[in-house]
């Protein structure tokens, strides 16, 4: 009995979807546009986060030690610093390594070699490179290093010269995060509103039928179920359509992203997460479709 009704209402939902061709097309389009906007917003947020993370990784503070400080002492200090909660990583750069990097950086020309011969020894200082969890905490970290037990071993901290760059980057990151969140929420809200109204119009066009169905003895649930199934169909079709659109979008934007994100390019991200994206779109579409149908039909089912 129950099963019979589920099968019947499901069939009816499918038949409604097919017979109301234009209305279904319009509703699916609206739903697809909403899902597309939500997906693009999510993708933008995702890439923005990657960019922010790589930017944050580039910010660091180097602490240079006096030339007389032994390697054991520096390693001891490094290990001490690594225990700070605010510090993400501490890397030791010996003066030999610093020299290698300098030579690498200069492209292996003779100038530096000549200069070194002239001096007779490696003039660079050993250092540790500190990365903080949060760029806003560099000031605090540098201050506490300045007051620490090893302050006399330190030659220079390059914080002051980097301070303005760090501050600017920090502000930019904060602003990007905030505006991304606000834009994302606005887009999602507008999309949900569009879908809800599209489905409300569909229900409005059926309103007289609900009355008839009630009067010939159909229960509210029996009237409602076909529309819920129709909502599921809207969601599935819209999800599939958006999947194709997203492929097209990734395909065209992909060359721009080559090498800029860890996964390679946007198309690789698309195929790497194909089933996650598809599942997400189906879930989102079905939820939007069903919940909107459910709410929209409610006002016509009184009595």
């Amino acid at each position: 009995m129950k099963w019979l009704k589920i099968v019947r209402t499901f069939k009816e939902g499918c038949v409604n979807f097919y017979r109301n061709g234009w209305l279904s097309f319009a509703t699916v389009s609206m739903l697809a546009i909403s899902l597309y906007i939500i997906s693009v917003t999510a993708t933008l947020g995702f890439t923005a986060n990657l960019v922010i993370a790589s930017l944050q990784d580039k910010i660091n503070v180097s602490v240079y030690f006096n030339s007389g400080v032994s390697e054991e002492r520096i390693v001891e200090i490094k290990n001490k610093l690594a225990q700070y909660d605010e510090i993400k990583s501490v890397d030791y750069v010996s003066k030999e390594k610093a020299l290698e990097e300098l030579i690498d950086l200069s492209g292996g020309t003779d100038t530096i070699n000549k200069a070194l011969e002239e001096i007779g020894e490696n003039p660079l200082l050993s250092s540790i490179v500190i990365r903080a969890n949060d760029p806003e905490q560099y000031g605090k970290i540098v201050e506490s290093i300045g007051n620490s037990f090893f302050k006399d071993d330190i030659s220079v901290i390059n914080y002051e010269e980097n301070k303005s760059v760090i501050d600017r980057l920090t502000n930019m990151i904060l602003m990007l995060r905030k505006s991304g969140l606000i834009f994302g929420l606005v887009f999602v809200f507008v999309s949900v509103l569009i879908t809800f109204n599209a489905i409300r119009i569909t229900m409005y066009s059926h309103r007289q039928e609900f009355e008839v169905m009630r009067l010939v003895g159909a229960s509210n649930l029996y009237i409602r179920m076909p529309f819920v199934f129709e909502g599921v169909l809207y969601g599935l079709v819209a999800g599939a359509v958006v999947m194709i659109f997203l492929f097209a979008t990734s395909y065209f934007i992909s060359p721009l992203t080559d090498g800029n994100i860890p996964q390679g390019n946007l198309l690789d991200v698309y195929f790497g997460n194909f089933f996650i994206i598809l599942g997400g779109l189906f879930t989102g579409g079905i939820l939007l479709g069903v919940i909107s149908s459910f709410i929209a039909i409610k006002r016509y089912l009184k009595v």
Binding site: R19, E209, V212, M213, R214, L215, G217, S219
Partner: protein, 226 residues
Amino acid sequence: MIKFENVSKIYQGNFIALENIDLLVGNGEFVSVVGQSGAGKSTLLKMISAEEQPTEGRVYFNDRPLDTIKKKHLPYFRRNIGTVFQDFKLLPQKTVFENVAYALEAAGETDEQIAEKVPEILDIVGMSDKMEKYPHQLSGGEKQKISLARALVHNPLVILADEPSGNLDPISTWEIIQLLLKINSLGTTVVLATHNKDTVDKIAKRVITMEAGRITRDEVKGKYVI
């Protein structure tokens, strides 16, 4: 079978649709309710199908007070009643067959029962050759016959017909009335609301006359007199 006990219905803004109605309709009766538009005929019928609840008094169906029926049980109650409307109220997206079958489907009857009953009832109203048509492909008279078939298909105890001939030509009107009389002769109670004088006079059965929400006449073999 249907009893009105001092029923009044007052809509918002103090509009009185029904006033102190006492009425008894027996099993198997054919009752015509006549009166001008706005006299309260439709409201009276809506009280019987529990679409409207009285402001005062009580309506009984087979000794059961309708106001005690829970909302979720209303669909089951309504399967005792077949309703026919002036504007047919067929489902536009469904074929003739599906329109009639809908009431049975909603009541949970099996596909076999439906496949048997629907052609049978369409045969009774003379529409078995239009089964696969959609409502917009039918004339007004044909639509009303389908509507009547739908009302009859689950063997209701009562048929409520609210101006069933309001949109029909005289010949179609008479066909519908003939069908109602035929249904009545098979034992179903019929309550017909109309303002068609000729029809009422030809039927020559009980006539209830309404004016401004009150019953002014109730004659066993009545005529349309206003």
